[in-house]
C-alpha cells in the first residue's frame, strides 16, 4: 500500500488541489493526462477524496451552552480600555515628577531661580560677619575687597571685577574713617569713562554708596554687602554691564592701583580669603535677578513637585485598583 505522505510534495499538493477543483485549467489538463497513465496516482487521488469526505462527515456538535454576551461581560471592555489609560497617565506623572526634580537639582540657577531666591541672602548674611570677624577694622575690610579685586582681575573676569569694584567702592565710601577709600573711588570714576567713554558708570557707584553712610561705622563692613543686595539691579547691574563694555583693561589697572594703597600685610590676608570672595561673587551677581520674585513660602517648583508626586501616587493607586477589579 502506498503511503500518501511518501508522494512527492508537488504531486501531493496537485492531487489535493485537484480533489477540491482548485487547479488551473492548464494544470488540470496536465494532471488528468498523468492520472490516465498512472494507476497509483489515481489511487492516491481517490484516497485524498475519501479522507476529505470522511472529515466532512464528522457530525456537527451542538454547543453545550449559549455564548451570548451579558452586559457585565461587555462592560469589562470599558474597564480594560481605562486601565491602559490609567497606566499611561501614571507613567507620565511619574516622568514629569522626576524631570522637575532633575531640573531643580541639576540646574538650580538656570532652571529655577525662584527656588534659590531665599538662599543667597541667607548665605550672604552668614558670610559677611565671617569676613568682618576675620579683619579688625573697616579699612581692613576695604583692603580685603581690594585684594579680592586684584585676585579676580588676574583671572581676567572683567564683569565680575567691575561688580566687585563697585562693592569695594561702596564699602570704602561708607567707612569715613578709612583714609585710602577715597582714592580708588575717585580713580574708578576718573579712569573708567576715560577708557570706555560710558557716561553712566560713575553715577552708579556713587548711588550705590549713598545708603550705607547712615549705617553705624562699626557695622559698615558687614552692612555694605547686604546694603548692596538691597540696592538691587537698578544700580549694580548697569554698572556691571557698562564695565563689560569697557573690558578688563579698565578694571585691571584699577585693581592694581588699589593694592599699593594698602600695606603689604593686607595682601597675604586678601589672598588667603580670596576663595571666600569667589564664593561671594556669583551671589552678588545673581542678586538682582533673585530679588525680582518675592520669596513667599514654598517656591513654585516645590509645589509642582509635590503636586506631581501626589498625582503619580493617586494614579498608581487607581491603576492597581482597576487591575484588581478587572482581574
Amino acid at each position: 500500500m502506498t503511503r500518501l505522505s511518501r508522494l512527492p510534495p508537488r504531486d501531493l499538493e496537485a492531487l489535493s488541489a485537484h480533489a477540491d477543483g482548485r487547479l488551473s485549467p492548464v494544470e488540470r489538463q496536465r494532471m488528468d493526462a498523468r492520472l490516465r497513465e498512472d494507476p497509483a496516482l489515481r489511487r492516491a487521488l481517490d484516497e485524498i477524496r475519501a479522507t476529505s469526505a470522511l472529515l466532512r462527515a464528522l457530525p456537527s456538535v451542538r454547543p453545550p451552552r449559549n455564548f451570548l454576551l451579558t452586559p457585565e461581560m461587555a462592560g469589562v471592555r470599558r474597564r480594560w480600555l481605562g486601565y491602559p489609560a490609567l497606566q499611561l497617565a501614571t507613567a507620565m506623572a511619574t516622568l514629569a515628577f522626576f524631570v522637575t526634580v532633575g531640573l531643580d537639582v541639576f540646574a538650580p540657577v538656570a532652571g529655577s531661580v525662584a527656588f534659590r531666591a531665599v538662599a543667597p541672602s541667607e548665605e550672604m548674611a552668614m558670610q559677611a560677619p565671617a569676613l568682618q570677624s576675620a579683619l579688625p577694622t573697616e579699612a581692613g575690610a576695604a583692603a580685603l575687597e581690594a585684594g579680592a579685586v586684584s585676585a579676580v582681575a588676574e583671572t581676567a573676569m572683567p564683569a565680575v571685577t567691575a561688580t566687585e569694584m563697585s562693592v569695594a567702592d561702596a564699602v570704602q565710601e561708607s567707612a569715613p574713617n578709612a583714609p585710602p577709600s577715597l582714592e580708588p573711588g575717585e580713580y574708578a570714576s576718573r579712569e573708567v569713562p576715560g577708557v570706555g567713554g560710558g557716561g553712566e558708570l560713575p553715577p552708579a557707584p556713587l548711588e550705590a554708596a549713598t545708603p550705607p553712610p547712615s549705617a553705624p561705622p562699626a557695622e559698615s563692613g558687614a552692612a555694605a554687602l547686604p546694603g548692596c543686595e538691597a540696592c538691587g539691579g537698578d544700580q549694580l547691574l548697569p554698572a556691571a554691564t557698562a564695565a563689560q563694555k569697557v573690558a578688563g583693561e579698565a578694571a585691571t589697572p584699577g585693581a592694581e592701583a588699589l593694592t599699593p594703597e594698602q600695606p603689604a600685610a593686607a595682601m597675604p590676608e586678601g589672598e588667603g580669603v580670596t576663595p571666600e570672595a569667589y564664593a561671594l561673587e556669583p551671589q552678588t551677581q545673581m542678586e538682582p535677578a533673585a530679588e525680582v520674585p518675592p520669596p513667599a513660602g514654598l517656591p513654585i517648583v516645590r509645589w509642582l513637585e509635590i503636586g506631581l508626586a501626589g498625582a503619580a501616587l493617586l494614579l498608581g493607586g487607581l491603576s492597581l485598583w482597576a487591575r484588581r477589579k478587572t482581574g
Binding site: L4, L12, S16, A17, A50, T51, S52, P59, V61, F67
Partner: protein
C-alpha cells in the same frame, strides 16, 4: 432583521443586536474550536472568548463577509489556547479527560438523531473518536487547515484569510494534513467506511 442591520446596530453598542449575530454563528464557531482543540470545555471557553473579542473589535469590521471575519477571530482564540497548553503541558493532559466524555455525549446525541441501528452506533462513535484522535496527532498548523477546509468546508480563500497565510501555504498544508490523516486512519481499518477500506486494501 438581516445580519448587516444587526451588525450596524451592534457597532453602535447594541448588545442585543450583537447577541442575535452570536446565535446565528455560535454552533459553527464552537465546532471549529472543538475540532481544533479536541476538547469540549476548552472549545466552549475559546468560543466565548472569540465572541467577546469580536464584540470588542467590532469597530474594525468594515463590511464584507462577517463569517470570514469571525472565523479569523475564532482561529486566533484557538491559537491562544494551543499556546497556553504549550506553556502548561500538565494542564493540557488533564484537559483531555473531560473532553472525551463531552465529545461522547455530543456524538451520542448526533447518533441518536440518525436512523442507524444500535449495532452501528458504537462503530460510528469509535470512528468519530478515531478521526478526532488522528486530527489531534497533527501539528497545530496542519490541524487548523484540515478542520477549516475539510471538517467545516470553508474554501481556500476563507482559510487563507482566517490563518493569515497565503493561498499556497493553505494548499500545501491541506495536502500534507490529508496525507497524514489518511495514513493515520488506515490504522483504524475496520472502523472505516467500505469505500475507504476498499482503496486501502486495493493499494496494499
Amino acid at each position: 432583521m438581516d445580519e448587516a442591520e444587526l451588525l450596524r446596530l451592534a457597532q453602535r453598542g447594541d448588545l442585543d443586536a450583537f447577541n442575535g449575530v452570536v446565535l446565528a454563528h455560535q454552533t459553527r464557531a464552537f465546532n471549529v474550536a472543538l475540532r481544533v482543540l479536541g476538547d469540549g470545555e476548552a472549545a466552549a471557553d475559546a468560543t466565548q472568548e472569540a465572541f467577546l473579542s469580536a464584540y470588542r473589535n467590532l469597530h474594525s469590521y468594515r463590511g464584507g463577509s462577517f463569517r470570514a471575519w469571525l472565523l479569523r477571530i475564532v482561529t486566533n482564540a484557538c491559537y491562544d489556547e494551543l499556546r497556553r497548553r504549550k506553556r502548561r503541558p500538565a494542564t493540557s493532559l488533564e484537559d483531555l479527560g473531560p473532553e472525551t466524555e463531552d465529545g461522547e455525549s455530543e456524538v451520542e446525541a448526533w447518533l441518536a438523531s440518525t436512523a442507524d441501528g444500535p449495532e452501528r452506533l458504537s462503530e460510528r462513535t469509535e470512528l468519530v473518536h478515531a478521526i478526532q484522535d488522528c486530527l489531534d496527532r497533527l501539528p497545530d498548523e496542519f490541524r487548523i487547515v484540515a478542520v477549516l477546509a475539510d471538517v467545516q468546508g470553508y474554501d481556500y480563500d476563507e482559510v487563507s484569510s482566517a490563518i493569515g497565510k497565503p493561498l499556497g501555504t493553505v494548499k500545501s498544508r491541506l495536502a500534507r494534513a490529508r496525507a497524514r490523516l489518511r495514513d493515520c486512519l488506515q490504522r483504524h481499518g475496520e472502523l472505516l467506511p467500505a469505500a475507504f477500506r476498499l482503496h486501502g486494501e486495493a493499494s496494499s
